[in-house]
Structures are given as C-alpha cells and as structure tokens.
Symmetry: C3
Subunit: 453 residues, 3 copies
C-alpha cells in the first residue's frame, strides 16, 4: 500500500499507463481520464488545468449518474422480494428494504468507507486501520469529487445488504436483521472491498480481478445470506416429513418489475465501474460493458427458461426466468469488458443454468432461500469470478481462487459470529405463532394487502 | 428586479462572483458555469465562445437529466398514493395522478412559467405581470437552452400538485380536483416561486433562502392540501363518535415502491438545483448535495422507525418509515449543500420525528390526510426552511420566517377561495352512497382490482 | 446508398451542413456534433482531434443514457400489460415481457443490427445484404462508440416487440410468441428500419421523415399485433352472441405505473434520437423535443379523458387516460422537434381522441386487442407520421404515405406468413380448457397472485 501522498501524486498519470500497471484502480488510483484537451498540452499549464477540470467533472458525473442508477436497484430488490414472499410478510419485507438502505448509508458514512479505503493496512494488506466518520475532501488531483465516489461506493454496499434480506425473509425479526446489516455494511463488506479496491492483499499480492464485484459485492452478500439461512433455519413448515413444501410468492408482477429494475440498475453497476468515460478508450469500454451486460442477462433468461421447460414438462417457472436474468448479470459482473458479446451470452447462460440447478439443491440441503438469492448471487458470483481468466489475460485462475476462498472464509466466519451472537442474545426468530400469523401483524402492525383475499 | 437586458448581460459573469452577490439565481441569473476552457481566455474570442457553448451544453444537460429524474417522481407519488388508499379508490387515485401531471404541464406552459419568471414585477416584487403561453427562445448568453429550463421548472410544479392529491384522496371528485390543480399550477405556485426564484420580494428584500424548495414547492403543496382537507372534510366514517377509525392502505409494497422512486427522484430535485455542474466547485457541490440528501433520508427513516417502535410497543409502522424518508428529504431540501453529513442526518431525523408526532395530531384535529402528506411536506418543509441559518450564514431566521409566513398566508387564502368556489358551485364531494361505493365505481367506471378479494 | 468509406469520410462534416443535405442520418451519417473546441481550429490538428474526441464522447454518452432510459420502457410495457390482463394470466404476461426483451437482444445481435444497417442494398434500397453476428468496431471518424449505437438501436427493436405482446395477451402460447418475436426482431423490424435509417429506399427515393419511429417502430409493432390478433382470434368468450364481454384488467395501479414508466422512457426515445447533443443547436433541439414530447402526452391524456367523460355519462375510463398518454406520445414521435408546443398539444390530443374512437371500433370488428396497443401504436403512429409535413417542410404527404403503406404492406404480409406457419405447425393457442384455467397454470406453473381472492 502506497502512502496517501504518493497515491495522490500518481493519480494524475494518464489512464493507459496506470491501467497497464496494476489493478490498483477503484478508490485509490482511479483512472483519471485525460480529457480531449490533453492534446493541447503545448498551450502550457492553463490548458493542462482545463483538461484536469474537464476530466474531474466527467468522472464525478459518471459516479453520480451511475450511482443514482445503482441506488434504484434498492427499489428493484424491494419489489423482487416483496413479490416473492407470502402475503402475510410483504409489508415487513417492503419496510425492511427501506430500512436496510438507510442503515447501509449511515454505517458506510460512519465506518464503512474508511474501512474499505484505509490510509494504510496491516497484516500484509488484509486489514486496514479503521477510521470513523467519513467527510468530503476535494482536490483536483484525485480526479473526482470525493462525495461522488462516496455515493457510488455506498450504493454498492447497499446491494450486498439487499441480497441477505431476500434469503432470510419471512422468519427473521426486524431489529436483529438491521443489526446484522449494520455490521455487514460497516465492517464485513468494507474489509473485503479493502483487499481489492482499497489496494489490499488481493490486489497487491494475488492479482485478483473483479471488475464490478461478482465476488466482492454479490458473493459477499451471498455468503452472509447462506450462513444466515443455516443459522436462522428454514421457515416453519418448509421442510416437514422429508418433503419440500412450496411457499409461492404472492405477487409475481412485482417480482418481474424488480427484475427489470435490477437489470436497468446493472448498467450503472457495471458501466460506471469503468470509473472514467471521458476518453475514446473509456467511452468505448463503457459502451462495450453495456452491450455485454445486456447479452449476459439475455443468455441467463433464455437458458433458465429452456432448462426449466425441459425439466418441468414444458412449463416455464417465471421465478427461474427472473433469477436467470439476475444470475446472468452477476456472472458477467467480474469481467464485463473483455469478453466478446457471444462469450458474454455464454457466461450469462451458464449463470442461468446454475440458478436452475442450484435452487433444488438448496432444498435438498434444507437450506431455505426465499427468493433464490444464493444461487443467483453466490453461485453465479463464484462462476463469474472464476471464468475471468478466459477473457482477461491479466487474471489467473489461482488469483481468482484465492479471492473467492478468502471472501468465502472471512464472510462466512464473520457472519456466523454475528448471527450466532444475535441468536443467543436477543433472538433472531419470532415465535412459531408469530411466524404463522405473519411478520406484518407481529412486527409491522399492519397488513400488506388488508383487502385482498 | 433588474431589467431583462441587464440580467442577460450579467448572466455571463463567473459563477462565484454571482453567487456571492445574491440569491438571484434560479431562472434569472442562473450560474453560468464557466467551463474548463475559460483558462484558455488568452486565446481570445473564439475560445471564449467555445467555453460558453460548453457551459451552455452542460447546464442544459443538467436540467434535462435532472428534470427527467424529477419527472419520475410523478410515478412515485402515484404509487405511494395508490398504495395508501383503500382498494375501492385505487384506480381513481392512479388516474388522478396521471391527469394532474398532464394538467400541470399544460397550465405551466399556458400561464405558470411566465407568472413565475415575469419580465418585471409590481407591488415591491410581490406580483409579476402575467404573460400567457410560454415559447422557447434560445440565446447563448442565457447559459442554458430555454426549453430545458421550462422542463425542469415544470416537473417542480407537478410535485406541488401531487402533494395535494394524496391528502384529499378518497373523497374528492375528479373534475373539481383537476380544476384546483389547474389554478395551483397556473397561478398559486408560480406566484410563490416568483417571490424568490423569479427575483421578487422574498429574494430582493428579505434574503430568503430555499435551495430546492422546502417552502416554495413542498410547503406550498402542503398548505393547499391542508386547506383542502379542512374545507372538503374528512372521509365518511373516519371520525365518528370521538373515535379515529383507521382506514389502512390497500397495497403497502406499492407504497414502498413509491417511496423509493421519490428518494431516487430527489437526487434530481436537489442535485440539479445547483443549476450548474461544469466546474470544480459546482460538481463538488452537486456531489455533496447527493450525499447530504441521502443522509437526511436515512436519518428520517431510522428516527421514525425507532420512535414508532418506542411508542407502539415494539411494532414499527411501515407507513411511518416511508413518510420518515420523505420527511427527511423535504427537511434537507431548503439547504442540501451547506450542512455536514452529520448535520444532514440530524436534520432528516428531526423531520422523521416530526412526521411521527404530527400524524396523530392531525387526527386529533379531525383533519383527514390520507397519505400523511401534511406532516411530510408542510411540517417538514417549515422545519427545513427555518433551520437553514444554522448551516448557511447568508440566511437569517427573520428572512426565513417571512418566507414561511408569506407562503402560508398566501397559499392558504388562495386555496381556500378556490376550494370554496368549487364547493359552492359544482360541489367537491361525491354523495355518501357514492363515497361508500368507492370512487372507482362512481367516477372511473372500473375497479382497481376486480378479482382481488 | 453510399459506400462505407464515403460515409465515414462524410461523417466528420459539421452538423448543419449534413442536416440540410438529407435525412441520411441515423446509423449512416449520424450528425457528428462538432464540439465547442471547433472554434479553436486555428490551433491545428491536435485541437481538431480534441474536438472530435469530445464530440465522440458526448454522442456515445447520449446513446448510452438515452438507451438506458428507453430500456426501462420494457418494464413499463410489462407493468401496463400485467395490469391489464386478468389475474390468471398476469404471471405469464410478466414472464413473457422479460423473455421477449431477452430474445430481442439476442436476435438484434445475431442478425437484426446488420439487417437494419447493411453495407449495401439491392432492389432500389428495399433489401440489404444480410450479415450475421454484429461485433463492435470503433473509429473516431464514426463519431460514436459502436456499441453505444448498437445498444440504442436494440432497445428500439424491443419496443416494437413489446407492442405485439400486449395485443395478443391471454391466448397465445409462450414459445410460438417468442418465435414470432425472434423473427420480428431479427428480420421484420430491421428490414423496415433499413429503408429509412439504414439509408434505403424510403430515405433515398421518397424523402420519408420519421424522427424517432412513429411508423418504423410503433406502427411496425402495431401491424404485427393487428395481424396476430386476427390470425390468433379473440379470447374465448370475448365476442359471444353478438355481444362484447368486458374482461377488465386485474391491477390498474400497475397499469398506471407502466404508463408513467413509458412516459419517462419516451424522453430518451425521442430526445436521444436527435443523435447529438454537444452543440448549441443540438442541445436546444433536445430540450425542445423534451418539452414537445411532454405536451403531446398531456394533450393525449386530457383529450381522452374529456371525450370519455362526454361519451360515458361523466365517467372517465382510466385505461383510456393511460392509452391517451401513449397515443399522444406515439403521435409526436414522428416529428417531436419542428412543431410548436401548442401544435404538439394538438397533435397529442388528436392521438388521444383516436384512441378513444378506435377501441370500440376494434370491438365491432371482433378484433381482440387486450391492452389497446393497436389504437395507441398503430393508429396514432399513422396519424403522427402523416401530420409531419404540417410542421416540417422537408416532408411531403406523398412521401409519408409511401412510408406508411410500405410498412403496413410489408409488416402485415410478413407477420401473417409467420403467424400462419406457427398456427399450422406448432399451434399458437392453448386448448379452450387451458385458456379458461389461465396461462399461468398451464404455461408457467405458478399463479401471479395465489393468495388474492
């Protein structure tokens, strides 16, 4: 990890040189796109300044617009999850999503951002010095408005929290869930992010490559969700007498809306992760990322639909189609730039297949994942990360494996500790009677749909 | 009020100078961001022109993208309100929101815009010369495409109209409501806006400060809603025998969606109200506004949730959480730039608390506000406006108070006159039988959910 | 059709000159906005390069942001259609919309884009040489990132497919529909688009003018929908005993949401079709398009509402208000720039009236259009196209008529052939029992709202 002063000084080095150097990109040596005016260098310092300001504005704008689009994914997760829970838990699930986005914002300001981008790190880059309460500090040399970066990173951490929310729905109490969310967004996710985007161990020692976060965001959320599902246990009545009892979602059109909103948001998630858009090369990259991201989602949807049609006598499970889209999107997130469009379709399609295959597998293991977030975010996150070396020569299978395992081990252990503490101290589940009555009545005090049926 | 020619000439003065001068900003002497190229001034007139064009494009783009994001808030209000009314009025409420956005657009073109930004004013700046039918007129010297400004202002007036719609839901007939909307968007809101953003009395004589419209937009809508609720009266059966009869919303997930859409739209509402984004200072300001806006919403949600949990034996009212977000957002709207992030959390949190406290107070006063718009938009609008001097030294408590009172007095009286005229002439309420049957059947002729329950 | 090399060379010619020359715009000689720096031409080649890069970035950004906004229209169509079908078909309709967007993306990559923008054409420009599998190829001289253009065009083809989906809802099987979608998006739409935007016959020989696709996109979808509705036949029970049996939509608030999302998306659809935003003239044009697009929608809503109130004893059909918005938007799409705002209101209002008049006409003809897509997209598409010469002197009624007829004849015949082949081979309809049970049960295997009513 370089001292801050050196990093700032280096941050004005042109994009390509910096890119060729390492993946020390996000949050540390972000690609400062030299604006068109660079060609006017002969005009001297004033033109150079103008060029820097222009790039600064462009980069900040990209973070703000990209971040805004990703922010809307919170609405997407909310709709997907509200649509896939039963009627008696839909108000709780809706409120929980509003609440978790609020908790994530607060904690990432209080602790998370400074954990993820620490001034210096210990333990060979596996742990940074925690600092508290982030505040903006703007300098032309960083290449972007500091609050635009904070905003862009904050919406990523909220995504990780939303993933957990879906898996453990319908049987976790509100406050324990929000406390877990606070720890996840203040410490667990930021530590993982620091390994790579904060210039830590994965980046420095292993050449790990995860463009927009298949592992760092989606698998992190997925591991936390998996461990939560195991420790909390399945919904009452889900696995009884060796049988799996289907508990169908209450509002499929809302789940479709959620899927489309996530798809929409993913263009910001992957596209703005190029981190610069002001040069010929950067804008071409962003455009390619848009196209590849879309192709992977298309592949995921159609592969999931065709496979379910084959498996289920011609019937196509709509929720599999939706999760196929998400699985395809997660799969391309680790490397949305390098693959061709055809390879993107393939990567996404295998993601869609993994979703269809993993959902019943979880049922067999009696792990109750209400919305299918573990297949879509964890399994596809691993898949997407491991396939990066196929298209990106800078990544190695070994480096990718280290990143996947490190994330899995750390997030699982940390999540297990937190969930266990919550279970032992305040309890994470409602009583069986309360669960049967529904969380809306017992935790929210109103019903999602008081007049429907 | 300066003559038009002087204003145009002044509009090319650099941002900072202009900002230090007065708050004669929006619509009159809009900050013309001198683009990076300004540093090339030595190159002479052609570089100056290029710089002007670049700033012109950037500013217009900000209005169009910002306006588009704010336009989507119309969908947010529609979902929030459709979710919080009863099933029998949900189609009416949905249609009313589509209709009011249409009326607002038409009236702001026919009258409103020219009322808000009159060429000159009378009565010490309290009233401008009304002109009819706005049409675009583009000049490089204004610093932005005229239609981009019209669009951005138009979506603000639609917001004010949406606020009224929510409060008076379930018992006002369609056409009287739309006529009120027409008057509100053609005259009432534009006159209030002219006092500040049109360079009128509040701006010129009192140094009133309201960055994106806590008072000018949200309180204006809130006062009109309050007066409407009083004159129209409560829903049949709401307050009977000294009791408050809860009439729970029919679709809480839709209300959550509406909340998220409004939160999303608020980044355009506050962020684009910086009115320029092409310089180091301006883009830093926009980024800071994004961060502060988000923090205030987070504070509003969590404060409202914690307070309801304390008040209601551990249960958290989902609609309070949603209105807490909106209350926090309204509270920060008067000054989203100057506060620190911590202060933004606090301002938003107090907004959330005000919502929770005011909702039962309205019930005690037998004022029936179906969606809680009066607490969120009026009460928090006043709060947000009055707290501005704490972070922004240019504002005074006296000046803020004058703005709050002037808006309250004028909007209340004007709204009362219009609602009374409508009541006496065409009648504003359906018959009791019609109200009992629901507005969907009597006014729309179809049901929102014909097959649900 | 000019050879590729010539087109590339010409593409660096300034916007105005190019515009005055012909409508050879979209995809061939796209207006390359000379950026502000052009004024610095005296600085020589480096400034010229900087100017080119700046315009390249601006144009690509416009396609990506515009395309993203249009992409979200897929969610709008999904909500509109899911809200207007009956409960038993709402999951199917939701899934079908996710699936068709996926098929459209795949086919437009495999075939469609190269069909629409062929290197050279035969048959006097009526047919291009088909090429397979599009891949990006970026050159500064084209003026935009190739993948940004692909993405922008792809979301347009998805729009055409969504139109068909709504009309033939509730009685067409999943796979035949998706096969039709594949042919529509790979061949039918691209061939039509090639006539105009690919520099084919309509553009070269007839001076046809269709700014953003009233005919090329909306009527194409509308003709395919009309022919599909005729060949597939009405829903069981719709027209029995000479009576029209209403089959009301199951979720009107979702339909309102869909309407607002489409309205939102239309600013990208029309605004970004200016294809450049980096100059004084271009950004003024985009702003004017935003304002006009909005006014047309306002006109459409209010005209439809007033007319239904007159026709139906004071009741206002909410679905007519929604389709009035869409009809107004389609009507202005052929020429959203040239009309004044007042004329835009009028064009949209007549579109709204056409919707109200055409819906019962289709019923009389026993053509079953579930969501009213034929009135809104086909009828208003023709209207909007034919009225172009009123405001745009470059267009002639004859040229417009040729475009309308050519599109109608070709799309109808091609669609009829495909629908007939599907009917004869695999069958397009479920059995009567399956249709009665609902497509959710028979094709999807789950219910949209298992707990509602």
């Amino acid at each position: 990890m370089l001292p801050v002063q050196v990093r700032l000084a280096m941050s004005v080095i042109p994009t390509n040189w910096e890119k060729g150097m390492s993946s020390l990109v996000r949050g540390t040596m972000r690609g400062l796109a030299l604006a068109p005016l660079a060609a006017l260098g002969a005009l001297g310092a004033s033109a150079q300044d103008a060029s820097q300001v222009s790039a600064y504005v462009d980069n900040s704008y990209l973070f703000l617009i990209g971040g805004l689009i990703v922010m809307f994914m919170a609405a997407g997760f909310c709709m997907l999850e509200a649509g896939l829970v039963r009627k008696k838990n839909a108000a709780m699930q809706s409120m929980k999503n509003v609440a978790l986005f609020s908790v994530a914002g607060l904690m990432f300001w209080l602790v998370g951002y400074n954990m993820a981008y620490p001034g210096s790190t210990f333990l060979s880059g596996w742990f940074g010095i925690p600092a508290f309460i982030w505040s903006p500090s703007d300098s032309l040399d960083t290449g972007y408005a500091s609050a635009s970066d904070w905003f862009f990173q904050m919406v990523f951490v909220a995504t990780a929290a939303s993933i957990v929310s879906g898996t453990v729905a319908e049987r976790v109490k509100l406050w324990p869930f929000l406390i877990f969310t606070a720890v996840l967004t203040a410490f667990i996710y930021p530590i993982v992010a620091s390994w790579e985007w904060g210039g830590g161990a994965l980046d420095t020692h292993f050449g790990f490559s995860d463009f927009a976060g298949s592992t760092l965001v989606h698998s992190t959320g997925g591991w936390a969700a998996l461990v939560g599902a195991i420790i909390i246990g399945p919904r009452a009545g889900k696995f009884v007498g060796g049988q799996v009892h289907p508990m169908p979602g209450s509002n499929i059109p809302l789940a479709a809306l959620g899927t489309f909103i996530l798809w929409f948001g993913w263009f910001g998630f992957n596209g703005a992760s190029q981190l610069a858009a002001g040069t010929f090369d950067d804008i071409n990259a962003v455009a390619q990322i848009f196209a590849n991201t879309n192709m992977a989602a298309c592949g995921g949807v159609l592969a999931a639909m065709i496979l379910t049609a084959v498996l289920y006598k011609g019937k196509v499970d709509a929720t599999m189609a939706f999760n196929g889209a998400i699985g395809g999107l997660v799969s391309i997130t680790a490397e949305p730039l390098a693959p061709s469009m055809g390879l993107s379709v393939l990567i996404g399609a295998i993601g869609g297949i993994l979703v269809v295959v993993t959902v019943p597998l979880l049922d067999k293991l009696k792990i109750d994942d209400v919305v299918g977030a573990i297949p879509a975010h964890l399994v596809c996150g691993i898949w997407g990360t491991m396939i990066v070396p196929l298209s990106n020569g800078d990544a190695s299978f070994f480096g990718q494996l280290v990143g996947v395992i490190a994330t899995g081990v750390f997030v699982s252990i940390a999540s297990a500790i937190i969930w266990m503490i919550l279970k032992v101290t305040m309890g994470v589940r409602p009583s069986d009677e309360e669960e049967l009555a529904g969380m809306d009545k017992t935790e929210v005090g109103l019903e999602a749909y008081p007049e429907f049926g």
